[in-house]
Amino acid sequence: MPVTPAAVALPPASGFVRRFCRNRTAMISLCILVLITLVAIFAPYLAPQDPARSSLRAIMKPPSLKYLLGSDDLGRDVLSRLIFASRLSLIASVQAVVIALGIGLPLGLISGYVGGWVDAIIMRFNDALMSFPALILAVVIVGMMGPSLTNAMTAIGLVYAPRVMRVVRGSTLSVRQEVYITSARATGCGDARIILRHVLPNVMGPLVVQSTVLMGQALLAEAGLSFLGLGVQPPEASWGSILGSAFPYMQRSPVPTIAAGLVISVTVLCFNLVGDGIRDSVGRMRRAGD
C-alpha cells in the first residue's frame, strides 16, 4: 500500500484502528462478540419461548421447529435458555475482570513505580499466589465464602488479580526509565500526578490486551465453577450451568450439551483472538503472563 502524506499524518489511535481492521480474524471475532452482546441485551425479544416455562409433555425433546435446540430435562426450551444465560455469563465475566483490575492495577502501578522493598514484598506475594492452581484456589475461596455467583466471580477476580498486576508492573517498570518521566519530575510533578498522567496511559495498551484475554478466561472459569455447581444457583442459569445440568442426560439428548459447550468455546476463542489482534495492532508491546 502506498504511503500517502495523509496516512502518515494520522494520529496513532486511528493507526491502531486501521491495523486492527485489517486483521481479518480479529475483526470477525469482534463481530461475533458484538453479536453475542446484542443477543444478551435483546434476549427478551429474541428468545422464541419463555426460558423458565417447563412443559411435562416436552421433556428432552430432540430439536424441532418448536424447540430448535431441543428441550431439557424439565421440558424447557434450550435455545431460549442459552439466549437468556448469555446475560449472566457475560456480566459475570465483566465482574471478575473488574475485580481483577481493581486489585491488580493499583498494586502493579505501586510495585513498578515505587520499586525497592515495596516491590519485593508485593512480588513475593504475587509469586506465592500464582503457585496455587487458579481453579483450585477459586474452588477453595468459594468454599470459604459459600457457593453463589457473586462469590464465584469474586474468587475468580482475586485469582486473576496477580496476572493483571504482573502486566501492569512490567509496563510501569519500562515507562519509569523514560526521559519524560524524569523531566516531569524535574518540573515538580508529584508522584500521584506522574502515575496518573504519564504512567497510566502507557500501561493501557498491555492492560487492554490482558483484560480481553482475561474476559475469555473468566468466562471459562465461571462455566467451570457453574458446571461444578459452585457458581450460579438455580433457577438462574449461565452457559456453564446449562452444560452441567444437560450433561447427565447426554446419552438420551446430546444436542443441549453440545450447543452449550460450543457457545462457550466460540466466545472464549473470540476473546482470545481479539486480544491477539489488539496486541499485534498496538505494535511493540507483548502479552505478558500466561
Binding site: S131, A134, G216, A223, Q251, L269
Partner: protein, 316 residues
C-alpha cells in the same frame, strides 16, 4: 559439586515462597463470612461448642501466634481433621493424590506426544497451509473448555462406540490394564488443551532453533533432517518447552477438578468440590496448600532440568 550447589540454592529459594503460600492459605480462613468458629462448630452448636472450636482453631490467640501454631502443625504434616469424616486431612488428601497425579501425569504424556510432532512439523512447514491448519486447530484447542472436550469424548468414544468405559477409576495395584483403560479418556480430555498450548511453544522454539548457525553447519555436514531435529533441534528447543510445561501444571491441576467430576474419579479435586458443599474448611485449606506445594515442586524440577538441557546454566 556445581550441580549440588545449584540444587541447594534452588531448594533454599523455594523456602520463602513456601512460607508465603502457607500464610495465604492460613489467611483464607478469614474469608469465611461471620465467625469461622461458628461454621466449624456446625449448625445448632451451643455457645460452649463455638468457644471450644475457637480455642481448638486457636482463633482466640493473637494473629501471629495463630499462624505460628498452624505452621508448626503443617511442618510435621498436621493439617487438621476433617469436620465431616473426622479423619486427618493429610491422609484424606494422600489417599486421593495418586488418582489426581496419575491423571495429570498421563495428560502431560499425551500433551507432549501430540504437541512435539505437531509443533515440529508446523515449524518445518512454516508458512504453508498445513502450518496454518495446525495453528488454527491449536487456537481452538486452547479455547475449548476441558469439560466440553471431555463430554464429547464420553459421548462419542464411550457411549456411542462403547470402546472405553465412561466413568470410574481402578487403582493400578488392583488391575493395571483396567487402570490404563479408565485413564485414557480423562487423560485425553485434560491433555488436549495442554497439547494445543505446547504445540505453539514447540513451533516457536523450533523455528528459532532451526534458524541458528549450528543447524546450517549440521545440514552442511550432510546430517539427515530427522537427526538434525532430534539431536540438535529438540534439545535446544527444550528449555522454552519445559518452561511452559511447568506453567501448565497449574492449569492441569485445576482442570483435574472438572475432569474428575465428569469421569466420576475420586481424586483431590472431587474431594475439594465435596468439601465446599459440606463446608469442610480444613479439607479445603489442605487441598489448597498441597496443590500449591505440588506446583512449587514441579517448578523446582523444571528449574533443575535447565541444568540438564543447557550446561551453561549449571556453571553460571
Amino acid at each position: 559439586m556445581n550441580t549440588l550447589l545449584y540444587l541447594a540454592r534452588r531448594l533454599l529459594s523455594a523456602v520463602p515462597i513456601l512460607m508465603l503460600v502457607g500464610l495465604i492459605t492460613f489467611l483464607l480462613i478469614h474469608l469465611t463470612p461471620g465467625d469461622p468458629a461458628a461454621v466449624v462448630a456446625g449448625d445448632n452448636a451451643t455457645a460452649e461448642a463455638i468457644e471450644a472450636a475457637r480455642h481448638r482453631l486457636g482463633l482466640d490467640k493473637p494473629f501471629l501466634m495463630q499462624f505460628w501454631d498452624w505452621l508448626s502443625g503443617v511442618m510435621v504434616g498436621d493439617l487438621g481433621t476433617s469436620f465431616t469424616s473426622g479423619r486427618p486431612v493429610v491422609s484424606l488428601i494422600f489417599d486421593r493424590l495418586p488418582i489426581t497425579l496419575s491423571l495429570t501425569a498421563g495428560s502431560t504424556l499425551i500433551g507432549l506426544g501430540i504437541a512435539v510432532p505437531l509443533g515440529v512439523l508446523a515449524a518445518i512447514w512454516r508458512g504453508s497451509w498445513s502450518d496454518r491448519l495446525i495453528i488454527i486447530t491449536t487456537s481452538m484447542g486452547i479455547a475449548a473448555p476441558e469439560f466440553f472436550i471431555g463430554l464429547l469424548l464420553v459421548l462419542v468414544v464411550a457411549l456411542n462406540m462403547g470402546l472405553l468405559p465412561a466413568t470410574g477409576y481402578v487403582p493400578f495395584a488392583e488391575d493395571p490394564v483396567e487402570w490404563a483403560r479408565r485413564l485414557i479418556l480423562p487423560c485425553f480430555t485434560l491433555g488436549i488443551g495442554l497439547a494445543a498450548e505446547l504445540a505453539r511453544q514447540v513451533r516457536g522454539a523450533m523455528i528459532d532453533v532451526l534458524s541458528r548457525d549450528y543447524i546450517q553447519t549440521a545440514r552442511a555436514k550432510g546430517l539427515s533432517t530427522l537427526s538434525i531435529i532430534v539431536k540438535h533441534g529438540l534439545k535446544n528447543a527444550a528449555i522454552p518447552i519445559v518452561t511452559v510445561l511447568g506453567l501448565q501444571i497449574r492449569r492441569l491441576l485445576g482442570g483435574a477438578v472438572i475432569v474428575e467430576q465428569i469421569f466420576a474419579m475420586n481424586g483431590v479435586g472431587s474431594l475439594a468440590v465435596r468439601a465446599v458443599f459440606l463446608r469442610d474448611l480444613p479439607v479445603l485449606l489442605g487441598v489448597a496448600l498441597i496443590t500449591a506445594v505440588v506446583v512449587l515442586f514441579v517448578n523446582l524440577l523444571v528449574d533443575m532440568s535447565y541444568g540438564y538441557f543447557d550446561p551453561k546454566v549449571r556453571q553460571s
